[in-house]
């Protein structure tokens, strides 16, 4: 009699992928559960439009899960997911030439209601001890500063300091040389430093 399999929330990404390849639908859902928030946050911060971010996140997961048979387990699953998410967001930005956006909402919103609906809702994420007015203001300043970065810099800085990925992994995700990734991150930090300098005064 075969041994019962361990619960999906206790196993590694690779094991969840292996079970999804066996046709286990709950394994697919577990992969979505693990990555929906990081992927959605990354894409949302890239495109600054909740509706578009939803669509692009959905597109990302559909691409990932329908191609799960082609995933090579010697690579990190998270890198693969972020690579597809980033490419999807960058493709969208290139199509729409949407590189400088407003914190107040999508530039494509036609009405004030639409602007409000697409605005970045600070403080809607995880509950945090920093969830006070000051941190919301600081968060808002940082979000606004990130928006003004070039898309390539934005991807790098978000992956490095929001998602906590290593330089090598970011190079793998973005398909860029390690040196270029380091340069982008340093330049992004320089720009953020300048943009946020008034907060220290």
């Amino acid at each position: 009699m075969p041994e019962p399999k361990p619960p999906l929330n206790t196993v590694t990404d690779q094991e969840v992928v292996a079970r999804s390849r066996e046709g286990d639908e709950s394994a697919y859902r577990e992969l979505i559960r693990r990555y929906e928030r990081p992927v959605f946050s990354l894409i949302f911060r890239m495109v600054r439009d909740r509706e578009i971010a939803e669509d692009l996140s959905q597109e990302t997961f559909i691409k990932v899960l329908n191609a799960i048979a082609t995933y090579r387990p010697e690579f990190k699953f998270s890198s693969w997911v972020f690579k597809i998410a980033n490419n999807t967001a960058i493709d969208h930005l290139r199509r729409r030439e949407l590189d400088t956006l407003s914190l107040e909402g999508s530039p494509h919103a036609a009405t004030p209601e639409a602007m409000e609906a697409t605005a970045l809702q600070l403080g809607t994420g995880v509950a945090s001890p920093l969830d006070d007015v000051a941190s919301l203001e600081l968060g808002g300043e940082i979000e606004a500063a990130i928006n003004r970065l070039r898309p390539e810099y934005r991807s790098c800085i978000l992956l490095r300091h929001v998602e906590g990925r290593a330089y090598e992994e970011i190079a793998d995700i973005l398909g860029l040389p390690l040196g270029t990734v380091k340069t982008y991150i340093h330049r992004a930090r320089n720009e953020l430093r300048v943009m946020l300098a008034h907060l220290r005064e």
Binding site: E22, E36, S41, A53, I62, L65, A69, S128, E141, V162
Partner: protein
């Protein structure tokens, strides 16, 4: 005081708490680098504290509506369980089956339309085979007849009684051989 300010790599190292003696000494003297390092740290802390956003409720259901989950189908034939191929495996198996069936169908159709050609090839092949068979048999018989032991064996089997004893001996040897082989290949059984 060093005139060279901190490099990007040194600033990076500072962010993860790595500080060499040279960097420490430079920071003690250089207000500009101190300010840069301090702002960098504040920016990074701010970035790390940014919240994560969630998609609308029902996101996974909306995704799963457009995902093809392979359905594993397990079949059992003669006690052997195997998974029926799905997805790419199924496509490959179907392609092989289609190519095989197309080949067989084409062959049958062509044969039905060219029966005379096929009959001609069949006759030629049979004649050739017949020829080779007879030649082979004749060569084998000639070879055996030229062997030094042939006359002795022929003489032995010339008498019906000796021939009967010889055949009986051969049958006994063959039976013993079969029994020995069966014992050799039988699986060991656990003693009760």
């Amino acid at each position: 005081m060093s005139t060279t300010h901190l490099s990007p790599d040194e600033l990076d190292a500072l962010l993860v708490g790595v500080m060499s003696a040279t960097v420490r000494s430079h920071l003690a003297d250089c207000g500009l680098c101190r300010a840069v390092a301090s702002t960098d740290r504040a920016v990074v802390i701010g970035l790390e504290r940014l919240p994560r956003f969630s998609p609308r409720i029902g996101f996974s259901d909306r995704v799963m509506l457009q995902v093809d989950v392979p359905k594993p189908v397990v079949r059992s034939i003669l006690g052997l369980r195997f998974r029926v191929p799905t997805g790419r495996g199924l496509a490959l198996a179907a392609s092989v089956a289609v190519i095989f069936l197309a080949g067989v169908t084409t062959s049958v159709v062509w044969s039905l339309g060219h029966r005379d050609v096929l009959a001609g090839w069949g006759q030629q092949a049979m004649a050739l085979l017949d020829n080779w068979l007879w030649l082979g048999l004749r060569a084998l018989a000639a070879n055996v007849a030229e062997q030094p032991w042939y006359e002795g064996v022929r003489g032995f089997f010339a008498s019906p009684a000796r021939a009967a004893v010889g055949v009986l001996g051969l049958l006994t040897t063959w039976s013993l051989g079969v029994i020995a082989l069966k014992r050799l290949v039988s699986l060991p059984t656990r003693a009760a």
